[in-house]
Amino acid sequence: MHKKSVVLLITLLILIALLFTACKPAVEETAAPQAKLEEVAPEEKEAEPEQPASKEPIKFGVIQPLTGPVADAGAYVVSGLKIGVDKINAEGGVCGRQLEPIIMDGKNDPQESVNAAELLITRDGVPIIMGAWGSSSTLAVMPVMERNGVPLIVETSSSGKITTPGTPGFDWTYRFSPMSLMESEAAAPYIVDKLGMTKVAILNVNNDWGRGAAEVFTNVIVANGGEIVSEDFIEQTTTDVLPQLTSIKNSNADSILITTGAGQIATILKQYKELGMTQTVLTTGGSNYPVAIMNLSSAEIAEGTYHLVFYVPSEYDLAGDPAVAKWYFEEYYKRGLPDVGLGESYRGFDGVHVIAQAMELAGCDLSPEALQAAIPLVEFKGLSGTVKFDEREGHQSRPNVYLTKIENGVMVVPDFQFD
């Protein structure tokens, strides 16, 4: 064979190999993906009751994307989780023991998330896991949980499939982030009438989350007399959306519905501005914290856009427990954490409280079965409303959903949604 053909053949083979791992590019070699929380300050430890036999910390698993395109969101969830863990531990821990999360990098990749879940269960023997951020990753992890009989607390994923009876792993899965359906139901009274979204172009990320959201929002828009003009799905790594936006600009769409993470929303808005578009923009999905979007584009670019969120940090009264919301807001900034992460961080805070309360409700029996039995009894007034798994056969909680708008460079909560 000609030398050049050999090189071409090898190149193609390697390229194919690299493509199959494209969702998790070149981060394999990152130092141990497992990160443990710092111990709490010694004086706080001394305050605990003396129980030498059970002093060993209670471990639980966390799967979040810590590298890859949505690593920022995972880091924010983890920062909220750490605040929650520190608060619980400082107040005496759970069942007199400290909590210790074992945090694994799932990269928001289904395969990696499954590996992380297997490791957490078999290597670390955790009785409960919180994760795995994206819907596709969560759906992949669920059967693993069922096979091993370990409950999963879902903090971010929005796909309806996750809490649909019959989905593999459903019995072991409990979700407090809203389904896209709940978001769309909350937006139903105003999406067409008040926002004037009558001819809508959908531009969503191409996964279970984006596709699920497109479906339920289509139903709501159509039911309220609007219509869907076009539907585009982009990969989470896509950076150039000019082709899609050009088509939308040249259609008769009066508005764009976007479901993806803050980073990609910022990129879309930049290019929306480049084309001089004027369509109303509404983003959904809960990873669209308006401050993060402004930070990743600019206040000017994001001006006038609408965003559905589950937690409005500065409006304490909208949270499940205003006092906790106020404490959290202050503690977050006391720790010097970034503005952009606040909107997404609440998931970790509420999540660890759900886990802690389940442990207490199980009478400190930390077996996965006891926790599974206790979770439906949990009622936690947190940052995103009250977590109570009373829908979808006791597997789904209904958090708050608020419409926010970026106005003069700040996030506001328009009044008309409360009418």
Binding site: A22, V27, T30, T67, N206, T237, T239, D240, N250, S298
Partner: protein
């Protein structure tokens, strides 16, 4: 029609960058017989270079781009001298593996230095659409396209009209004969690799402001550069330019008219079609460089 023109222009603009990435990769392959899998990481580092200089240190954008280009010229020389030259008498797959290792190393290095959070470079030009007839252009896109074309033209002139360019072309045609004529082929290798590295870094610095910057951003660009180089014919300079522009336009029209979900697949469909129809690349037998 207006929409078609807009898609065409969008495609040409992004295609200019694909072409720029492609010529670097194809030059390195043509001269050094190295398939450089770290090309996408040079692109990523170029974007981080501009982020650091322009966004963090406040140096004017053009100067930041220039400084970053010069830095990566040196960086490429170091990589060539330190990693690739010692391997030049080894089988071709050894250097290939070395570049895969380098790409993993570089993206993890970026992860440590800049953390995984996507970053915004900020807009160096006002973000106002200029309407030219039915199509909308922004200063940044025009700048990116013009810069890419000037760099491609510059590379071409350098190869065509300078004494050193002649040496590079001679080395490309016949390494042994060139060495016998007194050409220092090691220097030729180093200059080629530096040049390729630097233009990949410039491409990253150019596209950075309109996208986000993060450590794994090189992966998909790397894959597309290979598509361009393979479609254009390995080592074929004009082929890479043509294939780059073609890919940009095909993606833009494909995503606009067919389905955005298949957008990234278009590059690979292009490779498959070219390999079936013209296995030597779009510009077929043209073996000369420049």
């Amino acid at each position: 029609m207006a929409e078609f023109l807009q898609h065409l222009i969008n495609g040409l603009m992004i295609g200019g960058i694909y072409a720029l990435m492609g010529i670097g990769l194809t030059l390195i392959f043509g001269i050094m017989n190295i398939v450089n899998f770290s090309h996408g990481e040079f692109y990523m580092l170029g974007a981080f270079g501009v982020l650091t200089l322009f966004t963090m240190m406040g140096i004017p954008y053009l100067l930041a781009l220039l400084l970053s280009a010069v830095f990566f010229l040196l960086f490429g020389a170091v990589v060539e001298r330190g990693i690739l030259r010692p391997l030049q008498n080894q089988p071709v797959d050894v250097a290939m593996l070395a570049t895969i290792g380098l790409s993993i190393f570089l993206s993890n290095l970026a992860l440590i230095i800049w953390d995984p959070t996507p970053k915004d470079i900020g807009m160096p030009f006002p973000l106002i659409g200029i309407n030219v007839g039915p199509i909308t252009l922004t200063p940044i896109r025009v700048f990116i396209f013009v810069a890419a074309m000037l760099l491609i033209l510059g590379s071409h002139m350098f190869l065509r009209n300078t004494r050193f360019g002649k040496a590079i072309r001679a080395t490309f045609q016949d390494r042994e004969a060139a060495a016998l004529m007194g050409i220092n082929t090691n220097t030729v290798n180093m200059v080629t690799f530096s040049w390729g590295t630097s233009i990949a870094a410039i491409a990253g610095g150019l596209l950075g402001p309109i996208f986000q910057v993060f450590p794994t951003m090189g992966a998909i660009v790397s894959a597309k550069s290979f598509a361009v180089v393979i479609a254009g014919g390995l080592g074929n300079f004009p082929g890479a330019i043509l294939a780059g522009l073609l890919l940009g336009v095909a993606e833009s029209l494909g995503a606009g008219y067919i389905s955005s979900g298949y957008r990234d697949a278009i590059a690979f469909i292009l490779i498959i079609v070219v390999l079936i129809v013209r296995p030597t690349g779009i510009l077929g037998k043209a073996r000369r460089l420049g």
